[in-house]
């Protein structure tokens, strides 16, 4: 089968693409050109490819085995939420926030300063790539902390960490979770820090670092910010709005989730 090259992005008369300069101003898909009124073949396929990657990020199961191998013998615990499968997970966010009964029974109470949870969320690819490197970076930064074994959670939402931390007796939880993929980035990870978490804990009690991926916030920078937040949380005995207010500007996360009017449940 011969591979037919797609037509290059230029005008009908073959003139160079005058949109090139304007495209440096925005990542928006501007100046696409037309076939009649419709989009050109190359643009339709480019869009479909990006959408396919985003969907695969949502639907590919977290490869727990590969993560265990990457941990190379470092102890960890595997749990799952009450959402039995992906379809249930997407329809029932409430089930993704609670531990399956056998997972809850399996967790034993201890004396921990913090537990790190790696959960698939809406992009297993993000967690697969980003969670263990961040966990290792935090181990290096948190000398003297009693760090619980890493918990790997499937079909998990952010609030699942609350129940995990309660069951393990951890003073705070760091939830590392795949963010909802966009067309341009499908492997972005978010991190949520919650002090003294409990089931039903409000989101206003959390601090968030978002946009952690290869072309976004680098792991080392995220780790530095997270370590600062955790030390402050330990001192102030809180997270959330109260901690954000106490942070000097330079240590604040870069506006991770702007207030978006269009999103009634941001």
């Amino acid at each position: 089968m011969t591979k037919k090259p797609l037509p290059p992005s230029k005008n009908r008369d073959g003139a160079p693409d005058v949109w090139q300069d304007l495209r440096s101003l925005t990542r928006a898909r501007i100046g696409l050109g037309r076939s009649g009124n419709a989009q050109r073949t190359t643009d339709v396929l480019t869009f479909q490819a990006a959408h396919a990657q985003a969907r695969d990020a949502v639907h590919t199961p977290l490869d727990v085995q590969a993560m265990l191998e990457e941990l190379n013998g470092i102890s960890c615990l595997c749990v799952r939420s009450r959402a039995a499968d992906r379809s249930t997970y997407l329809r029932r966010p409430d089930l993704g926030r609670r531990l399956a009964s056998e997972s809850l029974a399996f967790l034993q109470k201890g004396e921990w300063d913090v537990v790190f949870v790696a959960a698939d969320g809406l992009s297993s690819i993000a967690t697969q790539k980003g969670a263990i490197p961040l966990f290792r970076a935090m181990q290096a930064r948190l000398k003297g902390w009693r760090i619980a074994p890493l918990v790997i959670a499937t079909q998990g939402r952010v609030a699942l960490g609350d129940e995990i931390a309660s069951a393990l007796g951890a003073r705070m939880v760091v939830m590392m979770i795949g963010e909802r993929p966009g067309l341009s980035v499908a492997d972005s990870m978010g991190v949520y820090l919650t002090y003294a978490p409990y089931v039903g804990c409000p989101d206003s009690a959390r601090n968030c670092l978002s946009n952690i991926h290869q072309h976004g916030l680098p792991t080392t920078v995220a780790a530095d910010k997270l370590a600062w937040l955790m030390q402050q949380a330990m001192q102030l005995k809180l997270t959330g709005v109260g901690l954000k207010d106490a942070a000097p500007d330079s240590t604040l996360p870069e506006n991770p989730s702007p207030l978006i009017e269009k999103d009634p449940h941001a």
Partner: protein, 460 residues
């Protein structure tokens, strides 16, 4: 008061009107999440039979959310036009469906009837209507509004040009605006969702949009979709506010979740009217709504998501808006799971709003965790176009790089206008022709590069 119906030898009982309406609703994940959905297909149809027999008068006498507890209920009850309702007072929900579809229900008759209908009546009748019913009735109802152009005329399809940018970069936004204008977009509004929701930022964005509009004398309106309290402050500072935007929902508590009350909306409405910026009319409000908003704020009072959504249109119509659109599909699969549910919801929202006299448009859209794709949006836009939707939202290449979801592209709306022989708002269509962007002879938008037009300097 309970309801019952026997179907296939089984007797189905529904505790009250809320439960009956919820059970009669087409399948959607949000009602399942709320624990309100029918438990079987047969129960759903039994509920529809029972609902079809409910007298419309019962909706006037029943407070689905108590009058004392909810200002939206008070608004609905206090503004209900009893005289307009008289011809329908002895009808059932089933009778209303038959009348709406009848040839007696002309555009004039429907317009006269609109103040007599409540959102709950609209929601109820929609539940026993098929998709084609929702379309053919909506198509008959014209809601015409005006600011710098005329929106909602027969044979017209307006568009919102949405040039969002993840850091609100002015030149980036201008580049997307230029792109949209070359496709004939922007007659409903050129409207930005800001990444940063602040007064200073809103002022800067409005200033840029207003300069561009005046420079090229574009007969349209611009808007920064920031919180209404920010817009009030922007107006106080002398900002170029054409339209006041706000997201609204169907209960007082859900609106409080948006940080808005009816009094704040009234204050903003009056402030915008006093600016007298409209040239052909004074419809100065722009609202967004969407099924699931109330449930996600835990403010649905046990109502199914479509009924509570319809109540938002009572809020909208109280302020004579230029534009309203449902953001169907944006909220995610826990409320509308797939393309089928999104399409149905889009048609319901459009129908209910138009029945109540609200100028409804749609952001035909989806997120990447919903079971939907661009083919579903093609279907939805054609169905809405056939149903006479007031306007659709377009973003470059259908990819909103700030809000991270997919809507329609400028190409899509151009295609739809061509397929269904729909034109932009007349003042805007005249401007496109005068600017040489539209070729009246072929009836097409010319395919032009920026430097081949007078708009080339828009980006600066």
């Amino acid at each position: 008061m309970g309801f019952q119906y026997s179907l296939g030898g089984e007797r189905y009982v529904f505790d009250d009107l809320k439960a009956l309406m919820a059970a009669a609703s087409p399948v959607r994940s949000g009602d399942e999440l709320a624990g309100l959905a029918a438990t079987s297909d047969a129960q759903r149809i039994a509920a529809r039979y029972a609902l079809a027999d409910v007298p419309l008068d019962l909706f006037v006498r029943t407070e689905l959310i108590p009058y004392e507890a909810d200002d939206v209920t008070r608004l609905i009850m206090d503004t209900h036009d009893r005289a307009a309702f008289v011809p329908f007072a002895s009808m059932t929900v089933g009778d209303l469906r038959d009348w709406l579809l009848s040839h007696e229900a002309t555009p004039v008759a429907l317009t006269a009837a609109a103040p007599g209908f409540t959102p709950e009546m609209a929601a109820a009748v929609s539940k026993i209507m098929r998709n084609q019913d929702l379309m053919s009735v909506a198509r008959k109802m014209r809601v015409v509004t005006r600011f710098r152009n005329t929106i909602g005329l027969e044979g017209c399809l307006a568009s919102r040009l949405q040039p969002n940018h993840p850091t609100d970069d002015l030149k980036g936004i201008a580049a997307s605006t230029l792109d949209g204008l070359l496709y004939g977009m922007g007659d409903a509004v050129i409207g930005i969702n800001p990444a940063t929701d602040s007064v200073a930022n809103g002022l800067a964005l409005l200033d840029m949009l207003d300069h561009a509009r005046r420079r090229y004398d574009i007969p349209t309106q611009t808007c920064v979709l920031t919180h209404v309290t920010n817009t009030l402050e922007i107006m106080n500072k002398g900002g170029a506010v054409d339209l006041v935007f706000q997201s609204i929902a169907g209960t007082q508590k859900a609106n409080e979740g948006f940080g808005v009350t009816l009094d704040i909306l009234k204050e903003a409405h009056e402030a915008a009217l006093s600016l007298k910026r409209g040239t052909v009319g004074d419809n100065v409000m722009y609202f967004e709504t969407g099924q699931g908003a109330a449930l996600s704020a835990e403010a649905h009072h046990g109502l199914d998501q479509q009924t509570v959504e319809a109540r938002a249109y009572a809020v909208a119509r109280a302020f004579r808006p230029l534009l309203v659109n449902t953001v169907v599909g944006f909220i995610g699969p826990e409320y509308l799971y797939d393309g089928k549910q999104i399409i149905r919801a889009g048609l319901e929202d459009h129908f209910c709003a138009k029945l109540l006299g609200v100028p409804m448009g749609c952001d035909a859209c989806y997120t990447n965790h919903a079971e939907a794709d661009q083919d579903d949006m093609d279907n939805l836009m054609v169905l809405l176009g056939a149903a006479g939707i007031t306007f659709l939202i377009g973003v470059p290449g259908a990819d909103d790089i700030m809000l991270n979801y997919q809507s329609l592209s400028f190409h899509d709306i151009l295609t739809l206008r061509s397929m269904l022989n729909l034109r932009p708002a007349p003042e805007f269509a005249g401007w496109l022709e005068q600017m040489g962007l539209f070729d009246a002879q072929s009836g097409r938008m010319r395919e032009l590069a920026p430097h081949q037009t007078r708009l080339a300097q828009l980006v600066g």
